[in-house]
Amino acid sequence: MLVIPAIDIIGGECVRLTKGEFRSKKVYASDPVVVAKDFERQGAKLIHIVDLDGAKTGVAANKELLLKIAKSVSTPLQVGGGIRDAALAREFLNAGVARVVIGTKAQTETAMLTSLIKEYGSARIVVALEIKGGKLAVEGWQKTLDTDGVDFAKKMKALGITEILCTDVERDGTMTEPNYEFVRSLADMSFNVVASGGISDMKALTTLKGIGLFGAVVGKAIYEGTIDIKKAMDALKPASHLTKRIIPCLDVKDGKVVKGVSFVDLQVVGDPVALGEKYSEEGADELVFLDISASKEGRETIFDIAAAVAKQVFIPFTVGGGISSIEQIRRLLQLGADKISLNTAAVQNPDLISDAARAFGQQCVVVAIDAKKKDGTYKVFLKGGSEETPLEVVAWAREAEKRGAGEILLTSMDKDGTKDGYDIELLQKVSDAVNIPIIASGGAGTLEHMRAALAEGKADAALVASLFHYGEHTVAEAKEFLSARGIPIRV
């Protein structure tokens, strides 16, 4: 759950109100830009900014200031207060504001909401649900309507709204406690809920996280010093026992496992099923079979291999190499493969990623990227590294994620087969850019290289070939080494 610090603005100054009453105004800082920068420095992942003049009067009096804040920080902003027409919402969204909060006029301007969702996606359009005694409060909370909050939420749901900002007016700025029951009822309706109002301590944040909220706006408690953003985020940091994965990679040519340096000088190292079984017994977390056969007949053998492996190996395995159609993917999955890896075909026909994700689920679509540094930037290469494309690696990884890739198998062509270590810079760049798992590939020469890829490189899995194939290390040795160095590993 995100801890979202709030900046409320009246007359260009950063203020706090109690229960939304303007006469209770307390000025905390004269320059909201400085406050936003400070929140950014403390590590906030989203900052909530409200133009209270706008909320009250319907005229966005502090618009220029809000746009200035958007330019001054790179932390995503959620902006509200007086956004009553689509033009103003568009102006903020186009200026880089991550999310706009639509309040007062939302219930009547449904066409505006639907068109904004269509243009920007539902994740960027937040509907403010402001509650006073279970009823909607409007116009800077000066008025209450005779509309039930839950009924209103149902209407919003029908319009395609997924994001709700729920504020309990009677608790806002009171440093008491949030309205847990009401936000729970919204979370149970499958909204991404941000709670606001009355969140004064860590206990409240922990309870809200337990309810399954998307975020919590914290205002006065931060200004008064009862909640520290950094400490709160550390305390709420998601815990997981999910392990990093060690994945032996078996390059298959005409039915046999081979290994070579930078895709040339291939040597046969064994039978795919026997090797797969051996690695599985040693504790491999997954297996990858990449078909590098040149002939049509050779490529047909991968289907037999998939079927044979599925009958004898009971850990997940991925099949890749030359896959270019939904029919091939269906056949491989039916034979028992868990995932398929797309490379050249995904670049030539990106719709294949989306089609496969839609037909079989995101979890089974791995997009393999062969990367090579050219004049300081990482470029995507095709056909086993022989063909350069104009695509930049990070941009292509993002595009693949957007289209429904479940994982990225990232191979450094510069490092592959060299045993010099993984390309840590490449791994970091892509890991930071996408939110799907990254499998590091190319360059493993020592167990320390694997550790570096999983720790510094932030990879979720390490693909290993020759280090295991030539018997330099067993999978079990690798896992013991990594586990002893603090990497979460299944041992």
Binding site: L242, T243, F360
Partner: protein
């Protein structure tokens, strides 16, 4: 002993079948409720989306029959999620065998929750007999279920705790894929076939 594996288009059907074969069990793939005659136990596999899965189960008639079964039933991954009352995925009414609902992970962690994670066994059951506490299993899912604590046999943590193994009477379920979880996954499949 004849295990019926329900075919409703889930792509891990064959993986479950391969696991059963490796354990020396006989199984029949069944596509219509009438074929349940002579079946001793049922596995409801699951990879895919809740909406289309429920649609297929309704169309084939399984949706009406499954909740009334008195023989042991094992739901795997989506197969388990479909046993609850409602899923946020596609906002669909499910089989209502288990109380509770299926929710999407709301976390800063990567979703889907994919990979090997531990299971904390909180209650004894024939299904988990001989499985050590903290054993690793393979998970792939973006949604998890919420149900009453009395039905939870094992829990896993991914930001929040969620049920990884459940039982209500003759109905069993695992959120992980036993057919892809190596030694201990195979142990659970074997337990279901021989002990449940």
């Amino acid at each position: 002993m004849n295990i019926g594996v329900i075919d409703y288009g889930a792509s891990n059907l064959h993986s479950v079948g391969n696991g059963l074969t490796a354990l020396g069990k006989t199984f029949t793939v069944i596509t219509r409720p009438e074929e349940l005659v002579g079946v001793d136990k049922v596995i409801l596999p699951g990879v895919g989306a809740a909406g289309s899965a429920m649609e297929k189960l309704k169309k084939s008639g399984f949706a009406d029959v499954l909740p009334t079964l008195k023989i042991p039933v094992l739901g795997v991954c989506l197969g388990l999620q479909l046993m609850t009352e409602f899923s946020e995925e596609d906002e669909v009414e499910c089989l209502s065998i288990l109380p509770g609902r299926v929710k999407r992970f709301r976390t800063e962690l990567k979703v889907p929750h994919m990979g090997w994670n531990t299971v904390n066994l909180v209650k004894k059951s024939p299904l988990t007999d001989g499985v050590p506490e903290g054993a690793y299993f393979y998970f792939v899912h973006s949604y998890y279920l919420e149900t009453e604590a009395q039905y939870v046999l094992g829990k896993t943590s991914y930001d929040a705790d969620f049920p990884a193994v459940v039982q209500k009477g003759n109905f069993y379920g695992t959120q992980f894929h036993p057919e892809k979880s190596g030694q201990w996954g195979m142990k659970i499949l074997d337990n279901f076939c021989t002990l449940c």
